[in-house]
């Protein structure tokens, strides 16, 4: 599935080099886009505004393992602790102000065209998920930021240790939800368009078509990458199978190390819980502010007169089953893109792949 081409105007794969990527970057910049892409920030790669493609971490690699992240010299990086979510669904955002005379001023939203440049396939898929979760459900802020979004995806030729996009069907080759993709192969850059406007821009770059040999290499490299980015489970019937374990005692075991800190949900590119606070400024106004929230916090499922999930294992179960199971009924897709961030950024290194495997094993052994 990951080698399926895109039939748009039969443009297919075109070939260029790093300078052509710079031309694409400049074209988008000159067209008024604020370009957001990966950039080294201290000891991590973050998604930040790129003024020039020189800021793109070309010679950097991120070594990721459960609860472990280090940057080192290399030729390919995966991702950092933030994701496109940060821009489409900001971590803290004023919604409106209530003035002293009780009039309400809505926040002026900055008119800005964002282009994500060099995000990976998993993160591109996360935007498709967020479109469904926040966009289709009418989050006007999300829609505002999303409206003019341009997406340039880098196909992932070297997935990391925590990556499992291949099992989630979201990578390593980008399938949909992008405008232009690029792939670093043998010192060349292969471009592909994923949308009509992507085709138009690529045509402007006037690049030659890739020959059969290079196309073969392209497929080989991405198939190899796909093999690497696999977890030991299949996406097929995953939602249905996992749900059968809802009453299982295994959740207590799985959450044994969990601290309930919520890091996994913060770094997850599709976790969308938020809370709303009223911040009072005497003599001035009161601000209604939206903050990211997490289903791991004790208060998340606390309601007047009781609590749905007072035990931490129940909160762990809620998170895992929501991502891999309930999401399907809710949004007709799964909530996990296999980017591995929750594994890397868990301070105690809990591996969601292993947790899913264990639940599936429990189902196989206990449910007839």
């Amino acid at each position: 599935m990951h080698t399926r081409g895109l039939p748009l105007k039969k443009l297919g794969l075109v070939i260029g080099d790093w300078r052509d990527l710079e031309r694409l970057f400049k074209y988008l910049k000159d067209s008024g886009y604020r370009i957001i892409g990966p950039k080294v920030d201290g000891n991590v790669i973050k998604l930040k505004e790129l003024k020039s493609l020189r800021e793109f971490p070309k010679q950097i690699s991120d070594h990721q393992a459960p609860g472990y992240y280090r940057l080192e010299e290399g030729d390919f990086f995966r991702n950092g602790d933030d994701s496109p979510k940060k821009y489409l669904f900001p971590p803290k955002m004023e919604i409106f102000k209530v003035n002293r005379d009780l009039s309400i001023s809505f926040r002026e939203i900055e008119k800005v065209k964002i282009a994500f440049f060099g995000i990976k396939s998993c993160d591109t898929a996360s935007i498709t998920i967020m479109d469904k979760v926040l966009g289709e459900r009418g989050d006007s802020f999300y829609k505002h930021f999303r409206k003019e979004l341009f997406i340039v995806t880098e196909n992932c030729i070297k997935p990391g240790e925590n990556c499992f996009c291949s099992s989630m069907g979201t990578g390593p080759r980008v399938q949909s939800g992008f405008d232009i993709s690029f792939t670093r192969i043998d010192g060349k850059i292969l471009f592909e368009a994923g949308s009509e406007r992507g085709v138009k821009i690529l045509e402007k770059l006037k690049l030659p078509h890739a020959n059969a040999k290079l196309k073969k290499k392209f497929i080989e490299v991405l198939e190899k990458a796909a093999e690497k980015a696999k977890a030991n489970f299949e996406k097929r019937f995953l939602a249905e199978k996992l749900e059968l374990a809802i009453e299982s005692p295994i959740w207590k075991e799985l959450a044994e190390k969990c601290l309930g800190c919520g890091n996994c949900t913060m770094v997850c590119p599709t976790c969308f819980c938020f809370d709303i606070y009223d911040e009072v400024f005497l003599d001035e106004y009161s601000k209604r502010v939206r903050y990211w929230d997490s289903c791991f916090t004790y208060k998340h499922a606390e309601v007047a007169g009781g609590h749905f999930r007072p035990e931490l294992w129940a909160r762990y179960r809620q998170w895992l089953l929501h991502k891999f199971s309930y999401w399907k009924r809710q949004f007709d897709m799964l909530g996990c893109v296999g980017c591995g961030r929750c594994i890397t950024w868990c301070p105690v290194g809990i591996d969601i792949r292993k947790a899913v495997e264990k639940v599936l094993k429990w189902v196989d052994e206990n449910v007839r």
Binding site: K46, D81, L259, C261, V267, S294, T297, Y298, C346, P347
Partner: protein, 258 residues
């Protein structure tokens, strides 16, 4: 009518009260809405009881204080404990693991003059506390936030989740994952502004345990990371060591150590 605010001090360093004076610009928001009824660090003028809001700094560590806090409680509509001493027993609660006499003999020429309780304990161990503002010292913005909410007649609210959530919202990189440094953030309550991790230093838990804090599990993880029991004990044996979750860790890994 103005709200009568009183500020009291028990066993403490005055640092939290000082945060009120440190408000400088922000304190103007409060003038005209509150009246200082008792605040020895700022003015020697006293107003009659009762008080609308009593801010209480410090831990209870003498018999006189036990009685005094009850009187304050009886005379105040809202009692707010401020700072690590008032909410967890403070740094002076380190003595709760040893005998007072041992210290007083070494420190004072006439140790028999020293009259303290065996333990330094938080205000909530003695009286009902309406709200707690954590930290060593408290964060003045959070203190102002709570006062502002009370003044306007809104139920005061502050987050009770982990510091990690605040770090992620602020865009800080996790120093445990990216640097391999131990950090108490995953089990400590947010509210400080994630100051230490912002400067690449592990959280040392001055805000005390968050809701449902998994301090013992984090301590176990530190041991697995290769830290000694003594190192782990010292991490938890700080400003909020007497809070229940931290106390358990200290007792488990080295309660009898100095």
């Amino acid at each position: 009518m103005n709200i009568k605010l009183a500020v009291f001090k028990f066993a403490s360093c005055d640092g939290c009260q000082l945060q009120i004076l440190n408000m400088e610009d922000e304190i103007l928001q409060l003038t005209g809405k509150i009246e200082i009824a008792y605040f020895m660090e700022a003015t020697s003028r006293k107003l009659e009881e009762p008080y609308d809001i009593a801010l209480v700094e410090g831990s209870i560590s003498t018999k006189w204080q036990e009685k005094h806090i009850e009187k304050i409680r009886a005379n105040s509509k809202y009692l707010i404990a401020i700072g690590a001493c008032a909410t967890a027993g403070g740094i002076q609660a380190l003595r709760n693991w040893s005998k007072n006499e041992d210290y007083s003999k070494k420190v004072y020429p006439k140790p028999e003059w020293i009259d303290t309780l065996a333990e330094s304990k938080p205000i909530s161990d003695y009286v009902n506390v309406d709200y707690e503002v954590r930290g060593c010292p408290v964060n003045k913005d959070q203190l102002l936030w709570i006062l502002s909410q009370l003044i306007i007649g809104k139920e005061p609210f502050t987050p009770t989740h982990s510091l990690c959530i605040q770090c992620k919202i602020e865009g800080n990189t996790c120093i445990m994952v990216a640097d391999g440094k131990p950090c108490l953030g995953p089990i400590t309550m947010a509210g400080c502004g994630a100051l230490c991790p912002k400067y690449n230093r592990g959280c040392y838990g001055c805000f005390g345990p968050m809701d449902a804090s998994q301090a013992e599990k984090l301590a176990e993880h530190f041991i697995n990371m290769g830290m000694s029991k003594r190192e782990v004990t010292l991490m938890f044996k700080g400003f909020t060591s007497w809070s229940k979750p931290f106390r358990k860790v200290v007792s488990k890994y080295g309660g009898d150590e100095d």
